[in-house]
């Protein structure tokens, strides 16, 4: 057909626009690559994590993802943790050397005046599967499964998500849900809550069920700016206590330990969180900011601020400093100890992770490619410091002399490698 110059120009523009739509509207590089055939991506990370005088973790993880020509992808991830060291037992410090014997018979000695620790050693195996399938041009479905096992805990989970792109793919809506059917089987059995240790274990194992719902929105604001808003709601039911944690029973005047009791938490928990994220592309660099507000019906409220700045160094190298600040209020049943002779509360825990605390994280990631070698490397080093009220007004007697919340200093090194072929 003979076209007039004006018509040819218009048709050419329309065709170029359509071609650009086909190539770019797909958005995800993976889909664009899939047009020419299937690809495989392998990711591996190795985490070394250490708390000063407490817990150490080594955690290698590997993930393989196969992307098919029709846009579907299937991935499998395997992880293995080795955890050693000690964590606070929940008991209060005393003026003498404190000896703790764990359920497995391990004896830990804590110096006088310091928070008593429980030694432990554990390993954890985890496997995850995920299948993604795009359909009807704008939809993406994701189905996943999870299994993990450690000495005293097992987790089985399944999850699913559906995303839809709207308004020329400027807006993406996502909704999903997940369920976990976990099982707790501590060494020595599950203790009776708030017991003094004289009662036999109430059971050898108890269930813990977790259900999560999520809705999310991501919005392209400008050519350089993407924002997101995610809300999650989680329902937990079952055995939610920490079987190895205790509370000291203190003399109300002297503050000296008169005994100890196991902790007891409610058997349900409902958590809600809202996460607002922003990613902005500067001339070359990228600034990522996020804020999370969290609350639950144990009266824990928290806020998390996170900032990353990816500085491009050229030759496919970058440096990304990271800063995170976290602050939480205490659970309604948190207390550092019990008072001898006072009526027992319905629930109580001295686990500092349910007390009022703050955390600061700073670190940096370096990403690079080795000349002449395939794949991308990342090396990340981070420092985390947790701190809280070490001398609360509620401390009695000798307890006023001790730091009841010694700061926790954590260092981590994460090495990652990713290759696609």
């Amino acid at each position: 057909m003979q076209l007039t110059p004006a018509g040819r120009s218009s048709s050419l523009r329309a065709r170029l626009g359509a071609a650009a739509c086909l190539l770019l509207a797909a958005g995800m590089p993976a889909i664009a690559q899939a047009e020419s055939g299937a690809t495989t991506q392998i990711d591996a990370t190795a985490l070394l994590y250490g708390e000063r005088s407490r817990t150490n973790v080594a955690e290698p993880t590997a993930r393989i993802t196969r992307r098919f020509a029709d846009g579907q992808s299937l991935s499998a991830q395997f992880g293995f943790d080795v955890i050693t060291g000690a964590s606070p037992s929940g008991a209060a410090p005393s003026g003498t050397i404190h000896t703790t014997t764990s359920a497995s018979g391990t004896v830990t000695t804590s110096p006088a005046g310091q928070v008593p620790l429980n030694s432990f050693k554990d390993s954890r195996y985890a496997a995850d599967l995920e299948w993604q399938k795009p359909f009807l041009r704008s939809f993406l479905s994701t189905i996943g499964g999870h299994v993990s096992r450690e000495k005293d805990y097992q987790s089985l989970g399944a999850n699913g998500k559906l995303s839809v792109d709207l308004l020329q793919r400027r807006t993406t809506l996502t909704a999903g849900g997940g369920v976990n059917r976990d099982r707790v089987f501590p060494v020595g059995g599950i203790p009776v809550g708030l017991s003094d240790g004289s009662l036999p274990a109430m059971s050898s194992a108890l269930p813990k069920d977790v259900s999560t719902l999520m809705v999310g929105l991501s919005q392209v604001v400008t050519r350089r700016w993407l924002v997101g808003l995610n809300a999650t709601r989680t329902f937990e039911r079952g055995y939610l206590s920490e079987p190895y944690k205790v509370l000291s029973v203190l003399d109300g005047t002297t503050g000296l330990p008169a005994g100890q009791r196991t902790e007891k938490r409610p058997s349900t928990r409902e958590r809600r969180s809202l996460l607002a994220s922003s990613v902005y592309h500067l001339t070359d660099d990228v600034l990522s900011l996020s804020y999370r507000h969290y609350r639950d019906d144990w009266q824990v409220r928290s806020q998390t601020f996170d900032a990353r700045y990816r500085r491009e160094l050229g030759s496919e190298r970058y440096l990304e400093p990271h800063l995170r600040y976290y602050s939480q209020s205490a659970a309604s049943f948190y207390r550092s100890s019990l008072v001898d002779g006072a009526p027992l509360p319905e629930f109580a825990t001295a686990d500092y992770r349910l007390g009022a605390l703050s955390s600061v994280t700073f670190g940096a990631t370096c990403g690079f490619r080795l000349p002449g070698r395939p794949g991308e490397w990342t090396v990340r080093a981070e420092y985390i410091r947790q701190f809280g009220e070490g001398h609360p007004d509620t401390a009695v007697g000798i307890q006023r002399q001790f730091d009841l919340f010694p700061s926790v200093d954590i260092g981590s090194l994460l090495i990652g490698y990713s290759i696609e072929f």
């Binding site: 590089p29 996943g144 450690e150 805990y153 999903g176 919005q219 400008t222 999650t232 969290y294 994460l414």
Partner: protein, 78 residues
Amino acid sequence: MIRSPGRLLRGALLLVLAGLAGGCAATAVRPWDRDLLAQKQMRLTPAPMVSAVDDHIYFSKEGSMGGMDVGGGGCGCN
């Protein structure tokens, strides 16, 4: 300690909504303008494996969880 979480939350939401409204009204980002947005580092979760490692660390050391996704499994660490 949390001083006024409600106010901060409302402020963050307003910021996001203002950005959405202002940005969407001012610019219609066409598919051929997505060269920057298509970069991996422009994703809200650019490194899912690293994010999962971080979630595990913070879940085991803090009283909060959640926000981004529904996947992942339980852990006896908290």
